[in-house]
Symmetry: C2
Subunit: 345 residues, 2 copies
Amino acid sequence: MRIKKFQEILNKEKIDAAILFRGNPNINYFSQNPDIGSSSLVIPKDKDPFFISKKLRFENLDNEAKIKGINLDGKLGDFINKGFYGKTIGLDKLNLSSLIFDKFKKEWKVRIVDVSKILSELRVVKSGDEIDKISKNCKILSETFREVLDNFDFKTEREVEVALSNISKEKGGDFCFKPIVASGVNSATPHYMANSSKLKKGFCIIDFGVKYEGYCSDMTRTIFIGKPKKEHLEAYNKVLEAHNLAAEITKPEMKAEALHKRILEYFGKSKDYFIHNLGHGVGIEIHELPSLALESKDILKKNSCFTIEPGLYFPKKFGIRIEELYLLKNKVIPLTDYSKELKIL
Amino acid sequence: MRIKKFQEILNKEKIDAAILFRGNPNINYFSQNPDIGSSSLVIPKDKDPFFISKKLRFENLDNEAKIKGINLDGKLGDFINKGFYGKTIGLDKLNLSSLIFDKFKKEWKVRIVDVSKILSELRVVKSGDEIDKISKNCKILSETFREVLDNFDFKTEREVEVALSNISKEKGGDFCFKPIVASGVNSATPHYMANSSKLKKGFCIIDFGVKYEGYCSDMTRTIFIGKPKKEHLEAYNKVLEAHNLAAEITKPEMKAEALHKRILEYFGKSKDYFIHNLGHGVGIEIHELPSLALESKDILKKNSCFTIEPGLYFPKKFGIRIEELYLLKNKVIPLTDYSKELKIL
């Protein structure tokens, strides 16, 4: 279905074949095999797609889409130049190194066109299977947060990180991105990654996600260690209300940009302390379309999955972020079930 | 020192400044901060380098090189076009998406040159600090292998993977790449990644590495579950002897290609079952220069770190790989201390 839809577009755009090189996330999308080895994927506009590889084996080619492997006995460029794949070849320039692209451009005597936009847009609306995988993933994620936060007996940020990783791994979750555990003043840095401090009193941002059957998840909760003051509670509630407002007003066919704008409006004078995007799509990759950001041109689509993650970050003081992964139906449905109320430890 | 050396080359090549975008591994190389956030790095040819960021905070900018952060109040392209960074800008095309490069090429009214080769080559020879970090990493790795293989009580490939990850994480190791645990016939696939089978009798390839203080490690041992037959022992010894031969003959200033060739010669009639490269450099990234491969142009340098990892893979039967990470002095010095003799469980 995924492949067929892509082939229809290739036909319409008069692209004879698209070639995706090993490591390209769209290979996982089409094959639905998260453990595909070192092969590249050729998708002709009107024939069955196939993997190509020079010498490495294809034994791990099991894939839902039943794509077969062909051993290339020679250089890819020679096959291209012999016209095996047609005269117009689509490459995914977003996921291709500029250096490698230059090499192809020089060596290949065919017309090369970029198919990255087609691919990114194709992945926005999730199928039932994909939603199942992401939902199962989010179950692992909720359970992991529950075990870690409900038995919180840690002395360092690193210990929290290790617990998140170990527990989720035992539940079947794979590495997705380096977790953020930012306590005290570290929470004022949205992308704090060191996780090297003792746990300090105050807010602690915990941002974590896992990979499961090739799909990602992403979730943030901010807890409080010690006794919060009024300013802490007010700031937390401001972020929580912003989150709930964003979730409430999100509708299919809405402009992503408008949603971000509305939350800036809500933050009012605090808006300068909201210093990242409101959210991002999640799927095969941890960051994909749609982008919930000021400069975004994306329209929110039914059956897309994306985060809503407003935050406030007060320099040298503290930060708060509340992030939930949602599925958009007629309105958004949260995919984890862990409470967003402030947990005070 | 690293930055100074790079600046000397920029001067020589008449490149006014190099810009490395967030996520670029060379940022970690220059800053020696593995946890740098979402900033990009500008290295002018004759001024102090600085991080740029639009709105995200710089609180996690601690770095050995004492590089400061500058908040860009506007678009990078405007600063470029105002000539702030000079008339010739170096970009690392290897680590830049072809799509993004096109955008810069279109918007920037400066000369753009590729500095990827300079950067890759700069990283080959490791400093004392870097060797320390990689050595400490390999200690974590050896201990993890020891704990997992000396108390081998697992039923599935996944359980071995989880144990490797959990134990190394508790010792301070971070995620580096998805471990390979390939038992029985799965071992015939060099890049088997599913780790989804029950542990089968026969060879089991365990390929694992961790990240520590920003540096990677990589190591493979092949164990045997059950009672090996003569053909198994012969094949294992063949790979072990190939490994030892490669380690023995490796000398500084040798052609990497010649080393691979010599091992193919050694394998003789079995050479068609050795289906990947002999080795690769390891450092900030898990795969970097030198490439120990047939088509490689690299010369092996003193104080470089690389793997030697011959293997034999018999389709639908079994595979063996023995990989060690070495530091090249006058000869190679192994960086892990786990035995390469066949472990029979």
